[in-house]
Symmetry: C2
Subunit: 338 residues, 2 copies
DNA sequence: TTGAAAGCGCTAACAC
DNA sequence: GTGTTAGCGCTTTCAA
């Protein structure tokens, strides 16, 4: 079992100095054709690969990006990561992925870990808890240090940062317009609590479209789902009222599919009795029966665009590029539920 | 904007030597109470964190694990990764995640990258292409070098390795038994081509159960789906025959949900006219209508168990632990489709 | 054309 | 109780 070779062993094995080996391996013209090919042949035969840590330490460049997302078992985030990975690997960058589980403490821990030499830059979707507690010191510190960082989807408010977000408000607007155009009038919304900005924005756009069409929403049709309690029963409440909505906008795929299930269980025909539109980039919407009309989120695009901004920052580290905000536009994908 | 501090800057700032700082930060009793607290206070104030690369190089230990999976936008793999992450982070380990996209070349590239100092150990699900071409040299090299590596789900055959697999054959067997017990007799299978061992094993178990019950499968009911061609039309063929099966076993969730869709489109009642059972750990099965009965794969458990074996190897690096194979048992989760 | 030396940030054996 | 030194693997002046 051949142990791993490094420059030193190659050097002593071949009777040359480490610096000669290093140069030869980089095809330096300082080194004679003969020694060069000898060294390269040896290196190839023993599968020499430079030590990543040593390279990173020496060059102050790790060729790795850090990614912090709340979770990975989630179609949107896995698509985001997939987009990140694609652009990163095209540029010879590797990924260190950490999960915050939506906890502030984990997020801080991950940030601390990743920003101490491990990676050249960071892609972050902020944890819900940080958003709730408005605690962004750990990010502010990095920004003050000019550490390359790009935020994705859920971002800290009021900071000068690079970010890639969705036009959540426009998405909500489009969802409402779609329902209205299809003739639905008594609309309901299943959304998230206040602190989750994406939910709030989607609702804002949704309400704006209603207003424009001279419609309003009954307070009882405006359900703010608290994720710490059973989701099903909260959504069930929407259906247990005397008067029912004829169209539902759910700010995520999960709420939409649960609403669909409950509606069908109660004997409602979708989309005849009630229409449902979700907000997602997920698989589920394509497999339900009927399939769900959704506002597409384009997670993959978000990931790859964010990575491009980040790499650009890394490549031009000392130039003062103004902060960018990329807004990914959404579109309604019409399926059977509306 | 305060630049990042390191041991050297702290030392010169405080008029002591780097080694004093290093020791003080590790609460060494060699250092006087006074200097110690002075140094620690300074470090805390400036958010000092040791450089990961330098630590790794110095200690020959990176506190990172490499993960290579074919893709991440896949419920099974994202659950596997989630399980890995959980056990890893409990042990203060971080993850470097690479995607092979089921390509041999990418897999080799990832392996080369990760095993050069970046990580202390590796968790791998083998790419389909490597399996097809029976090319495992890159793994054999690592194994010869005693590099800690654990394989997951799809493993290279005939090698002395640590692995965590599913009892695919037993899973197929259970699926068949379930259908038979429910009274279905004309069974069909939607499976993968030969080289994907998990599909083959599931089919083997399935056929074994049929045999035990004195049943056989019509060749026309045995569909080997080629993923390089449109999946829908291949499955459609099963339904366009004169005689139809009354029960279908799909070796993954995707095939199962497509089969369900097609069956319903053709006016078949599930589970009355035809039953469908899938093989998965996914979300989709819970959201289809009717929900799909499945053989549960327990990806999360696989990930965390594999990580435990790996960490154990890493902690006891020079001891000769015999290779382990952990078989995760499957179970039928009965839902509405059977 | 080749090699010696210094240093990336850290630690540990060994002085003092 | 504190400091010096060497070295993890690599690259890059600078000297030979």
């Amino acid at each position: 079992m051949p142990k791993k070779v490094n420059i030193k062993t190659i050097a002593s094995e071949l009777g040359v100095s480490p610096s000669t080996v290093s140069k030869a391996l980089k095809d330096s013209h300082e080194i004679s054709e003969e020694t060069r090919s000898k060294i390269q042949a040896y290196a190839k035969f023993y599968h020499y690969k430079p030590n990543t840590l040593a390279l990173g330490l020496r060059n102050q460049k790790t060729m790795a990006l850090g990614v912090i997302v709340p979770e990975i078992v989630h179609h949107f985030f896995s698509r985001v990561i997939s987009g990140i990975e694609n652009t990163a690997s095209q540029n010879d960058y590797n990924l260190m992925i950490c999960l915050s589980k939506d906890q502030l403490s984990k997020e801080i821990q991950n940030i601390d870990m990743l920003t101490n030499g491990s990676v050249d830059g960071l892609l972050v979707t902020v944890a819900k808890e940080s958003l709730e507690k408005c605690n962004f010191e750990h990010f502010e510190r990095l920004i003050a240090q000019d550490f390359p960082i790009v935020f994705l989807d859920r971002v800290p408010p009021n900071l000068q940062i690079d970010k890639v977000i969705i036009d959540d408000s426009a998405g909500g607007y489009k969802a409402a317009k779609h329902l209205i155009e299809k003739g639905y009038r008594k609309l309901a919304i299943l959304t998230t609590p206040q602190h989750v900005t994406v939910g709030v924005d989607r609702e804002m756009g949704f309400l704006k479209a209603l207003k424009e069409s001279g419609l309003t929403i009954y307070p009882k049709f405006d359900i703010k789902v608290n994720e710490n309690e059973p989701i099903d029963s909260q959504i069930e409440k929407l259906f247990s009222q005397k008067e029912l909505p004829d169209g539902i906008f759910a700010v995520n795929e999960n709420y939409a599919s649960i609403a669909l299930k409950i509606a069908q269980k109660r004997g409602l025909k979708v989309p005849d009795d009630i229409a449902i539109i979700g907000f997602t980039d997920g698989l589920i919407s394509k497999t339900t029966n009927p399939t769900l009309t959704t506002v597409a989120q384009h997670g993959y695009t978000m990931g790859s665009q964010a990575t491009e901004i980040l790499l650009n920052r890394i490549y031009n580290k000392n130039e003062a590029i103004p902060n960018q905000t990329i807004v990914i536009s959404t579109n309604v994908v019409e399926r059977e539920s509306t």
